[in-house]
Structure formats: C-alpha cells, structure tokens
Symmetry: C3
C-alpha cells in the first residue's frame, strides 16, 4: 500500500483558460509505482476547477463563452463591493462570477488506476480550469493504491 | 492502514444556508490519527450539496441569489405536483429547484490528507449547502490512510 | 486491504436518459467482500455524468427539461461546426450542449462504504446520466477498503 502526494503547478496565462493535465497525472502514477488504486485531484484555489472532459479547442471556447454568459463578470455581486469587505488583499480582483462558475464546474475529481493506467475513456482528459487568472496555481494530487 | 468513518451532523436554520465544516473535518483527521491519505465527504440528502469554496459572507449571499435565480422555487416543475406523485411523505415540500441546484453544486468532495493536514488552499473551506431547510442533515465522511 | 475494479455497462435507449445504478454498485461491494472503505465512480465518456440524487420519475423529467433549456442543443456552438474541426469520427453528432451539461453535473462521485453498505441517505440513488445517446456506455468503479 502506498500513498504518493504531489502538487501540480500551472502558471496560467489568461483570465479564463483551460489546461490539459492528463499527462502530468499519468506520469505521476508511473513515478509512484502504483498499479491499482485511485487518484484524488483537487484545486487549491476558489476560482479554479478540476474537470474531466474533451480537450477539443473549439469546445473549450464554447465552455468559456457559455459559463461567462451564465455568470458574467461585473458589478452585480455583493462580493465585488470591495470597499464593504474586511481584510481584502491589496490586489483583490472583482471575481465573484469566477467563484460561482468554479462551484458549478467542481473542485475535485476522483479517478481509478487499473494496471498502472488512469482509467479514462478515449475522449477524456483531466482539465484544469482557470477562471480568474493569470496566476500561479496548484492542484493537490493523492495517488493511493497497491504496487 | 486505517479507515475512520464518521457522520457530521448539521441542524440547518434556514431554507437556504451555507455552513463551513472545515474545522470538523480537520478535527476528525486528528482524531483518526491518519497522517497521509484521503477524505471522502458526501451529503446524505438529495437537496443539499458539499462544495469547497471561500467562506466570505457576501460571496455566500451571491451564491444564494445566483442559484435561486437560475433555478427558482415554485410551481414550474413536475416534481412539485405533489398530488400526481406516489408515496409522498406527509410533510413533503415543493423542492424540485433544490434537487436541481444540488446536482449542479455536487454531492461529494474528495480531498488529500498530507502530514496530518487537510490539503486546502488559503482561501478554501469545506462548505455544506442546505437548499431545502431547515432540517437535521448529515455528511458521510470516510478518512482513509496511513498513521 | 483490497482493490476491486469493475466497469458498469449501460446500453442507453434515448438521447437524454437517466439510469439508477445504485443496485449495481451495492452488488459490486458485496462481490468485493469489502466492509469498510470507499467507492469511486466515474463516467468514461465526455457527454455523460454520474450524480447522486433522487430517483423520482417526475423529478428526472424536470432535470431533463431544466438542463436542455439552460444549454440547448443546436447550432450555437463552435464545437458543432463539424466542417471546421480536425479528425472528426464519421458519426460525430452535434453535441456541444451535452459536453457542457456533463461538466455542470459532474464526471465522478465518491462515496463511503461502512459495514459493507454504500452510505447513501434514504432518498439517494446513484444516477448515470446519458446526454448524447443512445450509445453503449461504461462507468469505472474502484472499490477500495478492508475486508
């Protein structure tokens, strides 16, 4: 039985951007030597999400447009009235919409490892979604299983 | 290797309310003695959610307003035609919108435990979201790892 | 400590359909002999979701109507401009909306196993949601725990 903990770092380049981290997860499974078990992936940020879906560039743009339309950035949120909040970091952006989209997309994914392989379907990728970048971001990854 | 199962009870006070249960999770990790592993948290109810996001009071109100606007309570749902359904509990409320919001927010979260600590970022909390209260609610929590 | 991996197959019958797979999960737990641990369930497809909610037929229809209204099928997505994409399978449908709904509903669920039982509340079922059927679909299931 083995537990392998690692954080995946992603320096995001845009305000809204999607990164395929599948190879990083598979590579960590190989480093860990774990053949059968699970992988738990979770964002360490409140304006990012971890999802599993297809890495097709036109779909990724649809995702961006859909969610920014559903929860648009702007002044229509209490969280964005920065002068009314306590203990605001000096560079705090207006990002309530990013928190809301993150909650819809989800903070964590759990996947199986079988015969040393991450059990994804043909069209599936592990996607890290930046909703309030650019920033340096991290994904917690625990791989747990038998060698 | 150890498995520590516990249920977190929450007596919710309003119809829509958000509770920060981070300290209860961290305290259970300490009780379990587990140093490296995972935590699985899942709601035991169909009109509640378990999420990870920021516990900032104005943001929590934005979340309430956003989701009740997206899926408003009321009569526009088949599930709320109580006279047309079978085996209805005597106190069944009109809560179709709460089921739908629960599905968007998610029933479970998975997190890593490393060196005895729940691996959350600085602004992250584990949030239990009541969507059809007030009621007595429970979250299943399994902590699994090495001591 | 035991790891039991299995895939649940579902031949979906409609374009949008919801299947209760709770009994298949509980049955696999019994086959595995695992008494305390966790279950990780994840869809192997990018236009399906795995959720936990209530299996009530009128609610399931509300879910279908709500999400198809929120992200309607049709031509308003870049992913559906099949002539502009690379490496399209010969039978590729216009399914961008199905990807988006899948991301909102979530690809995976994690649940606890305690005393040999899947820890669900009275009204909870594990639901597999087809968003772009009919097709042959699979859910990855890893059950991990002590016997």
């Amino acid at each position: 039985m083995r537990f392998h903990y690692e954080e995946i770092g992603i320096a995001t380049a845009k305000n809204f951007a999607i990164y395929d981290i599948t190879e990083k997860v598979q590579s960590a499974i190989e480093t860990s030597g774990i053949m059968n078990g699970i992988v738990i992936l979770s964002s360490k940020h409140t304006t990012c999400a971890v999802c599993v879906n297809e890495n097709e560039e036109r779909l990724l743009e649809d995702i961006r447009l859909f969610f920014l339309n559903l929860a648009p950035p702007g002044s229509g949120y209490l969280h964005n009235d920065l002068h009314l909040r306590k203990n605001i970091p000096p560079d705090e952006p207006e990002n309530a919409h990013a928190h809301i989209i993150a909650m819809m997309l989800g903070n964590s994914e759990s996947l199986s490892v079988h015969d040393g392989m991450l059990m994804l379907g043909n069209y599936q990728s592990v996607l890290f979604i930046e909703l309030d970048g650019p920033r340096n971001r991290y994904v917690s990854m625990m791989i747990n299983g038998s060698i």
